[in-house]
Symmetry: C2
Subunit: 119 residues, 2 copies
């Protein structure tokens, strides 16, 4: 049982679209990720996904509209909803989602990360 | 499905030790709270609890030690672990925890909030 310093965790990795697990509780995981550029369209069948922007500007494309997020803003994407995160410049986010959540959801893609590092 | 602006949510209430629900996902809730002064010793039987400090300095007293948290730092208090949050000055936090979580855990106290407002 130790505190987690977000800035220390971010300084331990540089790659983008590769979330790291920083905490686990109640079957859920807290993850940090660096984003830059566009991700892929995907959805999660059984998991709602929370995005909290810590730095930068995140554009969440949905099929019918776009939601833009600045630091201190969060969005819950419900299960089943197709979404594509796009980062215009470097973005740092925190994710809160079930431990079962795959980063590209039901999609198999070059960006899929089957197992995430715990830092 | 709308984004949540944390600063807007905080500007909608002033009282302390009275968490507000700002999002729900996967049976979990995201809450915001203002803290000031000492809370009560308590524990949660079945819920792990995440504290993320957004502003101020939070002291988490445990029975065997104390963990101090500044903005950008988080702590998961596992189920069953007695804890007492103490805020030296005004503190703003975000909580992630199961929807079943009672603020004073198994303790009945004047500070117990049986039902929380959704803002």
């Amino acid at each position: 049982m130790e505190k987690v310093v977000l800035s220390e965790k971010f300084s331990s990795f540089e790659d983008t679209w590769n979330p790291r697990i920083i905490a686990e509780l109640n079957g859920q995981q807290v993850k940090l990720a660096r984003l830059e550029g566009p991700f892929v369209w995907h959805h999660h069948s059984d998991e709602d996904e929370l995005f909290l922007v810590l730095e930068g500007h995140l554009i969440m494309e949905l099929r019918d509209r776009t939601i833009e997020l600045d630091p201190g803003e969060l969005l819950v994407v419900p299960r089943g909803v197709e979404h594509r995160p796009v980062a215009e410049g470097p973005v740092k986010i925190m994710l809160f989602e079930p431990a079962s959540t795959r980063n590209t959801g039901t999609l198999d893609d070059a960006l899929t990360r089957e197992s995430l590092e715990r830092i």
